[in-house]
């Protein structure tokens, strides 16, 4: 099997090795585990299901390890799943200054890819990793550290630039939120309180210390919020220099946030809603002429839509320009795209130009992010169509993607040099034999496993002998009969002779028994979609001369669209497995469970990502408090209660400023409840920033309101000051208690009474 995938397997096996560090045990041979299949094939149950629905299941034979390659390369979707499976991956030592910790193995490695200009695939847009790569490049990191597993020593590699960059952006969050709150509330104490919360939150500190995307993402999110708020304050002098500056800065930050992770979309939504509200206000202002309104509208379209889009596209342009060498991400993309990458077998390739009988080929589905036609030594489980060998679409290059083109009725060995070469022509009836298993591509009138309206496609027969259901008519799109079929350039369709259906890939992901590869079906609906079109990619025929081919270069727009389709597919593939404990969104605000960055055992140096519980619970209480205050203020205003000018100002801050922040929190938190993908604790941190700002604003307002009850203004000030001081001291003291979480603990676990952290394990679910 190709080296890239083997490395993936080894890397994943490495993770497992460390998850169960018991190589000493007799009977269990350590080294063989590395070569063996990581996460051995879970055989589907054949036991009768007791509930309704009858029996499903059945199991295929075990995958031979050398052919079983359902794992994408490191950094790919499944590698992240593995991370989910092993939990926060425990390293041997943990990120003592000189070791890689947790997700650094992904993002640090991707930084290296940029430095080495190797093409890779990731589910996130490229900006974050590009910046990491840039930071590494500038600080003299040469991109040679393999980032194989957490806990690896950095040795002589210069990693501090990358970590320093992330830490710097993480520290910038404090001034950003400080300025935002100051702008919204016009109150220095409120801004200070928020800043203190962020400075002393263990979670934010831990998350900023490593090579991760989160500090970069949060920096852009907060940057966008700050510039939006600043821009709102400039509303009284539209089209001034500062107005333009803040508005375009908002656009730049939006592009940045979107370019790091797709969750940047939430802040885009926040800014979008704010802008709509703004425009609505302007529209209601009758002193403003419609021409003026049009100018306002155009300015916003320019700064908040066109500018970010241009920047976002530019990011991808840089991404594809920098990464010009073949790497682990090739197979996710179309043949045309791959031919652009130096080192890819399609780059400046020379192959026999026309398809001939006896050729060995791979077929790539033309839908975006479609895979290669693939089969392996596994049967469809019982109850899912006929119990024959699976045929799937697989995104990685693999020996099991190889098929041999044969004549449908004769089985003469075409490799015999004495037989003259015969080309395949449009309209011919052919048989495709799977090279590894010598079975024929076959279809019949059984339901396909997922798309029930289509027919099942299997591999059938022994040593190339099957039946008439193995015959396919090959047709080239837009061609007349008798024409030859060109490798790579011809878009072909395979029509099943017996049933008249067309071979296609639905793009749906098969369950575990199908190794989470893509479904291949035979569709009886004769619609012209890329799903049912294929091209021949590899073509091996020793009897034909190789001819150099320049494949049609894809346009940049096509590449951009294609990479987004691939990313979306990668994201939807990140589904939690059965019986797996995953982090749930409702866990997050209550700080229910942290993430182990490294270290499990007592002797390890352990870092645990957990918010400072005092701060987080304060935030949680504040959200409730804020809702209470808002509702009572709004009702009081609606009932026409006369407020003093001070109280009016307070209510304005709570309703307008607090409202914006509350909306930000909701937008960054609620959508996670609807996501089907694997979630992690650190997804909450952008929402946590909003929550902290809300805490600052709310408590400041509340203290001012309560202090108002003391009559002389000096006493009132003292009360207010005392309250403020108490909050700050509480935050600092709690940081003193919990600081070891971020700066590392060595020694007994907290569940052990002798540990210095013993009294601090306030929830059973914390594992430090």
């Amino acid at each position: 099997s190709p080296a890239g995938s083997a490395a993936a397997a080894a890397a994943a096996a490495g993770l497992h090795l460390h998850a169960c560090p018991a190589a000493r045990s007799p009977g269990r041979s350590g080294p063989s585990a590395a070569g063996g299949a990581p996460g051995a094939p879970p055989a589907a149950a054949t036991l009768p299901r007791p509930s309704r629905g009858g029996s499903t299941g059945g199991s295929g034979p075990r995958h031979p390890p050398q052919l079983r390659l359902p794992l994408p390369p490191p950094g790919g979707a499944t590698a992240r799943l593995v991370r989910a499976g092993a939990g926060p991956v425990p390293g041997i030592g943990g990120p003592r200054p000189g070791r890689a910790g947790w997700d650094e193995t992904h993002f640090g490695k991707m930084g290296s890819y940029y430095i080495n200009r190797t093409f890779f695939f990731d589910v996130h847009p490229p900006l974050g990793k590009m910046l990491i790569g840039l930071a590494g490049y500038l600080s003299g990191y040469d991109g040679t550290f393999p980032f194989q597993k957490p806990g690896d020593r950095y040795e002589q590699h210069n990693y501090m630039g990358m970590r320093g960059f992330c830490a710097f952006l993480g520290s910038c969050l404090v001034p950003l939120v400080y300025l935002t709150v100051l702008e919204l509330s016009k109150s220095l104490p409120a801004a200070l309180l928020t800043a203190f919360i962020l400075i002393f939150d263990t979670g934010c500190i831990t998350l900023s210390q490593y090579i991760l995307l989160d500090p970069i993402l949060m920096f852009f999110v907060m940057g966008a919020v700050l510039s939006m708020v600043k821009c709102n304050s400039c509303a009284d002098r539209p089209f001034s220099a500062s107005w333009w500056f803040w508005m375009s800065l908002t656009g730049v930050n939006l592009a940045g946030a979107m370019g790091v992770k797709f969750v940047g979309l939430f802040v885009v939504l926040l800014v979008g809603l704010n802008t709509m509200h703004d425009l609505w206000d302007l529209l209601g202002n009758l002193s403003l002429s419609l021409v003026m309104f049009g100018k306002h509208l155009l300015a916003r379209v320019l700064c908040l839509i066109l500018l970010p889009l241009a920047l976002y596209t530019a990011m991808f342009a840089v991404h594809f320009t920098v990464l010009n060498k073949s790497g682990p991400g090739d197979g996710f993309f179309s043949s045309a795209f791959q031919s652009q990458l130096i080192g890819n077998n399609l780059h400046n390739m020379s192959v026999p130009e026309h398809l001939a009988y006896g050729s060995m080929v791979t077929m790539k589905n033309l839908r975006m992010a479609g895979g290669y036609l693939h089969s392996h030594w596994h049967l469809y489980p019982e109850g899912i169509g006929a119990r024959q060998q699976q045929v799937t679409a697989y995104l990685h290059k693999d020996l099991n993607n190889l098929w041999i083109v044969k004549k449908h009725h004769s089985d003469t060995d075409l490799s015999d040099p004495s037989i003259p070469v015969e080309f395949v022509r449009h309209g011919d009836i052919i048989r495709l034999e799977h090279k590894e298993t010598s079975r024929n591509l076959h279809s019949h009138q059984h339901e396909a496993p997922l798309t029930r309206k289509h027919f099942q496609v299997t591999a059938y027969g022994i040593n190339g002998t099957g039946d008439s259901n193995d015959f396919w008519r090959i047709e080239v799109v837009g061609r007349k009969a008798e024409k030859l079929i060109r490798v790579l350039r011809s878009q072909v369709r395979l029509i099943h002779v017996a049933t008249g259906c067309i071979l296609g890939s639905s793009g749906k992901i098969l369950p575990k028994w199908g190794w989470e590869q893509l479904e291949v079906t035979c569709t009886p609906y004769l619609k012209e979609t890329p799903n049912s079109l294929w091209n021949f990619e590899d073509h091996i025929n020793p009897k034909l001369p190789n001819i150099s081919l320049d494949v049609l270069k894809p346009s940049f727009a096509e590449i951009l669209l294609e990479s987004h389709m691939v990313m979306i597919q990668g994201n939807t593939a990140l589904k939690p497995k059965d019986n797996e404990v995953t982090s749930k969104p409702w866990h997050w605000p209550i700080n229910y469970q942290g993430l182990r960055f490294s270290g499990v055992n007592e002797t390890d140096y352990r870092v645990y990502l957990l918010g400072n519980p005092v701060i987080w619970w304060l935030n949680l209480v504040t959200i409730g408090l804020y809702l209470l205050i808002t509702v009572s203020t709004a009702v009081a205003l609606k009932r026409g209660v006369q407020l003093t000018s001070e109280h009016k100002e307070l209510s304005r801050v709570v309703l307008r400023g607090g409202g914006q922040i509350m909306l930000g929190w909701l937008l960054h938190y609620l959508p996670f409840f609807m996501m089907g993908r694997v979630l992690y604790f650190h997804h909450y941190f952008p929402a946590m920033l909003f929550s902290s700002m809300l805490t600052g604003i709310t408590w400041d307002t509340l203290l001012k309101f309560l202090a108002g009850f003391w009559s002389p203004s000096t006493t009132a000030k003292k009360v207010y000051g005392a309250g403020f001081l108490a909050l700050v001291l509480l935050i600092i003291y709690s940081f003193y208690l919990f600081h070891p979480l971020s700066y590392g603990i060595v020694g007994p676990m907290a569940s052990d009474p002798s540990s210095p952290m013993a009294g601090l394990r306030w929830m059973d679910s914390w594992e430090f």
């Binding site: 000493r24 045990s25 299949a37 149950a45 339901e447 997922l450 059973d764």
Partner: protein
């Protein structure tokens, strides 16, 4: 007093003949030849089995929704004297004589028929003309898909009925609000809103969408009430409390009461028992209760027990061991300890018995008095038949290499000591000294040496493990997960000192007498939780569709086909109505945006009261359409065309609203108005024409010829069944 002696008693009855006639027409269209076809039609095969189970009082769990709808269907069966003896196994099967088809289908058909006058009333309450209201009712009447869906034992028509009833009741209440708050009829309609909402939610969870919509509208209206400065704070509070009571407290209480009736009716054990916990199963007559009756409650040292995994997924199973050992080397080359296999086995078996042993003592019998095991105690678990100890060690498990292997210890003398001490942790304990109880306690077993937790991994072993489920020691136990929790199901105090006697004892059934009853609330929460979390395999059905197909009706569902002729029934809507409804929604949205922007610039195109009507009618109809349709885009379950029907009903109500608005406000001249009226008449006759064209596949008769059927296939994506000659 005695006034009636002086004056004659005069009873004036006002009957709206419109409503009467509409009801009558609705009844005719829905009830006509209701028991034809006398065969199982589409999802009747699904709901029918629950009706049978109700008749036989057998417990079941249906994850598709709460039980109220099923109960209503069962009520029809009960009134018709159905005994429940029918095998619901395939669509198209002929009903036997004991099945009262007519009465089973009566309730859905009545609900469907009553939707017609309800539509009329809703438009009247929205203060549109009687002509528009009549139009809305007729459109509902002539909608083929609604007719098909109401004529069989299905839940959608009941759901739509309750949804419309809730909307009507709220509108009535709102219109009374202005002048007669807290009057008798005010209370009646307010309460009816809540009741209808809870009934809708009780039939299908989809009702929740309309319930939320009505709550939002009520909230907005109440916000205006708050702004009313003439109202004192006290009466404002009364208003608030009345609404909370009627719209939140009563619906919740009614919803719970549906489950109460459900659980009271179904007291016998049945096919879905295994999904529930042991405690729940023990509360059902027959089944587990027969076995567990009279078991000793407290687990003591020397107790013989079977341990069931609480998760119940992928199937229920019990901790098991047998004499076979783990293979020395697995297929992938990794090695094992070669000790005795420990698995989780989905069937009752003598090898599921374990004995709780005190590590400090040798005996395997219960002392007198029994010494109960408490939370935190350390025990050994001895496999009853092989007398080997449950053990785990630092060896990778066969299928989950990041977890520890669990085995029954065999001493091979290779310096690999037994590690067979387990700490009992009761998860649902009330205090730290709780006793381990049969069935009730959910227990985790924490390994003393490695602090691994005994867990069901969910994978099933290969041939050498007889495809039983893998059990592992999970080292990185992240919080609570049901796969790590076990409970004692069968239990008795061991008495036999010798192994031979013990084997005999293990083979004998447990029997004693006491019973454990769960409270209703405990049963309710468990059942509710199971309904919400139970996941069926998500597979595509031949007639399933995506939400996007519905709006243009690119799909249909074949409900039934006559076994010999080509008479058939399809869920297929009235194309003209569907298209007009889409157009109406589009026109409504565009016009509203236009008005809204113009009003913002202080240009008022229509009078203020007409604008208010326009907004409130849109809030109900467009809002109702949106909340009942858009959520399906985010759903991962298998979707069918009939899921769109509630949304469609709201959309249809919008057509006459938009038409009247156009004729009142946009047709300025008389000529234009009369032309518009003529257009409406023409359009309406086309609605009737389509209805009558498709009525053969709506009612399933008469049987059409092949060419006629081919002519009906107006869209290529429709699947009309044509027999091969």
């Amino acid at each position: 007093m005695l006034g009636f002696l002086k004056e004659p008693v005069i009873l004036t009855v006002e009957i709206n003949m419109n409503v009467m006639v509409l009801t009558l027409m609705g009844l005719i269209s829905r009830l006509w030849r209701l028991s034809y076809p006398r065969a199982v039609v589409f999802d009747e095969v699904y709901y029918g089995q629950f009706v049978s189970l109700y008749m036989k009082r057998i417990f079941f769990v249906d994850d598709s929704g709460p039980p109220f709808g099923h109960m209503l269907l069962a009520l029809g069966g009960y009134l018709g004297g159905f005994d429940g003896n029918f095998l619901w196994n395939r669509i198209g099967a002929e009903y036997s004589m004991n099945v009262p088809v007519w009465s089973l289908r009566l309730l859905p058909a009545l609900a469907g028929a009553l939707c017609v006058p309800l539509a009329y009333q809703i438009l009247v309450e929205l203060q549109f003309s009687h002509c528009a209201a009549l139009g809305a009712a007729l459109l509902i009447l002539l909608e083929n898909s609604l007719i098909t869906q109401s004529r069989f034992m299905l839940l959608e028509s009941i759901l739509i009925f309750f949804i419309l009833l809730a909307v009507l009741a709220y509108l009535k209440f709102y219109n009374l609000q202005k002048h007669s708050s807290f009057s008798g009829s005010w209370w009646f309609w307010l309460l009816l809103t809540g009741v209808a909402c809870s009934c809708a939610v009780g039939v299908k969870y989809m009702g929740l969408f309309t319930y939320i919509l009505l709550l939002t509208i009520a909230g907005l209206h109440f916000w205006h009430v708050i702004g009313d400065q003439n109202l004192s704070n006290v009466s404002l509070m009364c208003h608030f409390l009345a609404r909370t009571l009627a719209l939140i407290v009563i619906p919740v209480a009614m919803y719970v009461s549906f489950f109460y009736v459900h659980l009271t009716l179904l007291y016998r054990s049945g096919p879905h028992d295994q999904i529930m916990t042991s405690a729940f199963q023990a509360s059902l007559e027959g089944g587990l209760a027969r076995i567990t009756q009279g078991q000793p409650l407290e687990v003591a040292y020397g107790s013989q027990i079977t341990l069931r995994n609480v998760l119940g997924k992928p199937m229920q199973c019990w901790l098991h061991s047998h004499t076979n050992t783990y293979p020395i080397r697995y297929e992938n080359g990794r090695g094992s300890s070669h000790q005795q296999q420990v698995t989780c086995y989905p069937f009752k078996d003598v090898n599921n018995w374990w004995i709780v042993k005190d590590p400090g003592m040798q005996q395997l019998v219960v002392s007198n008095p029994p010494r109960p095991v408490r939370h935190g105690h350390i025990v050994q678990l001895v496999h009853g038949i092989t007398t080997r100890y449950l053990n785990t060690h630092d060896v990778a498990a066969p299928l989950s290499p990041h977890s520890q292997e669990v085995s029954c210890y065999i001493d091979y003398n290779i310096s690999m000591p037994a590690q067979n001490l387990w700490r009992v942790e009761i998860v649902n304990r009330e205090s730290d000294t709780d006793v381990w109880k049969t069935i009730l306690s959910e227990v985790r077993f924490v390994h003393v040496n490695t602090s691994a937790v005994l867990k069901l991994s969910g994978a099933s072993l290969p041939e050498w493990g007889y495809r039983q489920l893998e059990v592992v020691g999970e080292k990185l136990s992240k919080g609570y997960h049901q796969s790590m929790v076990w409970n004692v199901e069968e239990h008795r105090y061991g008495k036999s000192l010798e192994q031979k006697e013990r084997e005999v004892e293990l083979h004998s059934p447990t029997q004693m007498d006491i019973s454990k009853n769960l409270s209703f609330m405990a049963k309710f929460t468990e059942l509710q939780w199971k309904i919400l979390t139970l996941k069926n395999e998500e597979t595509e059905h031949k007639y399933s569709s995506s939400a996007l197909d519905w709006i243009t009706m690119d799909t249909n569902i074949a409900y039934w086909l006559h076994p010999t002729s080509s008479a058939q029934i399809h869920l297929l809507g009235n194309v003209v109505t569907w298209t007009s409804a889409n157009v109406a929604a589009l026109v409504y949205v565009c016009l509203s945006l236009w008005y809204l922007v113009r009003r913002r610039r202080k240009i008022y195109d229509i009078p203020e009261d007409a604008w208010q009507l326009w907004v409130s009618a849109g809030g109900i109809c467009v809002g109702g359409w949106a909340v009942n349709y858009l959520p399906f885009f985010g759903m991962e379950k298998t979707l069918f065309l009939y899921h769109y029907l509630p949304a469609l009903t709201f959309q249809i109500l919008l057509i006459p609203i938009v038409l009247q608005h156009i004729s009142d406000h946009l047709c300025r001249s008389v000529l234009l108005k009369s032309m518009f009226t003529a257009l409406i008449v023409a359009w309406f006759s086309s609605v009737y024409f389509v209805y009558s064209t498709f009525s053969p596949v709506t009612y399933g008769e008469p049987s059409l010829s092949v060419t006629e059927l081919k002519d009906l296939r107006w869209k290529d994506s429709w699947n009309i069944l044509i027999r091969k000659q």
